[in-house]
């Protein structure tokens, strides 16, 4: 479903896990914006605020109620999203 930005300001809480907490310096952040429709919009807003996350753009794992979301998944006002870093090295 295509994103339809509305005039209603949505409030989405983003909680950071693992090294993202250190990268951004906070445990959570609230995105308040009208131009939010899907997960990707939230990611863009968060990266705009915390540029250190840019390195992981399109790789950040995003969960809502424990379910991993694709970037085109729609979000709703009041959603709480968890951002987790994808870790792939075996050392």
């Amino acid at each position: 479903m295509p994103c339809l930005w509305g005039s209603v300001v949505m409030s989405i809480e983003v909680r950071f896990s693992g090294r993202y907490k250190d990268l951004v310096g906070v445990e959570s952040f609230v995105v308040d914006a009208s131009q939010i429709c899907c997960v990707e919009d939230v990611v863009v807003e968060v990266i705009f605020e915390f540029s250190d996350l840019r390195v992981d753009k399109s790789r950040i794992m995003v969960f809502r109620d424990g379910v991993n979301l694709s970037y085109d998944e729609q979000v709703s006002d009041g959603d709480v999203l968890v951002f987790a870093p994808p870790l792939v090295s075996g050392g």
Binding site: M61, G66, V67, N68, A84, P86, L87, V88, G90, G91
Partner: protein
Amino acid sequence: MDENRFDRQLRAKSWGKETQELVGKKSVLVVGAGGLGSHSVSLLVRLGFGRIVVVDSDVVEVSNLPRVNVFDSDDVGKSKAVVLAQKASRIGGPSVVLGKDLFVDEESIEGLFEGIDIVVDATDNIKTRLLLNRECVKRKVLFVYAGLEESSGMVLGVIPGLSACLECLRLSPEKKDAGVPVIGSVPGLVAGLQISEVVSLLSGKKPLGLVVMQCFESLDIEIVEVKRRSDCPVCGEV
């Protein structure tokens, strides 16, 4: 059972004779003999697991030595899996450790699962991790993923058909996998968490969820709840 060898853990209330006998009957496939795999194999032997098969197609490089367990400078150029199996066997005890110098792909994976109770994912790339995950879900074999980057680690235990699998996380393969920066002391910490989850799943417990660990800049371990995705191409139909 060698009660003298395992005395300390036999007397631990959360372990005891029952768990010792359980792990002694289990076969573990460890894929990857780098920082994670070398620590994991060492831990599995020290805990008294019955049979451990370790697979890796790489040779030991000097740049591996800060992160790996049991390897030393004399091992540079030798097969990681073979050397790790030889050295882990020297720890002694009941464990049988087999090393296979083998690249895991769609073909070679077929011969690796015979008699295996659980798979420890210690690889260094998403493609192999997802292949292992898919095979474990298909064969209903327990699976424990772990990953590292810099001072961070992550562990996910998978019970096929019951809990979220690795594919449910939509791990992206876009970033270069091998050569990711990792601090030398982190693999041992994460391997400890990974093997704890191995014992936990074999004991019939549910997976913890996605365990996310961060150290050095801060010290933080949290568990992120992870549910199965109904549209997961691997476990969605299981």
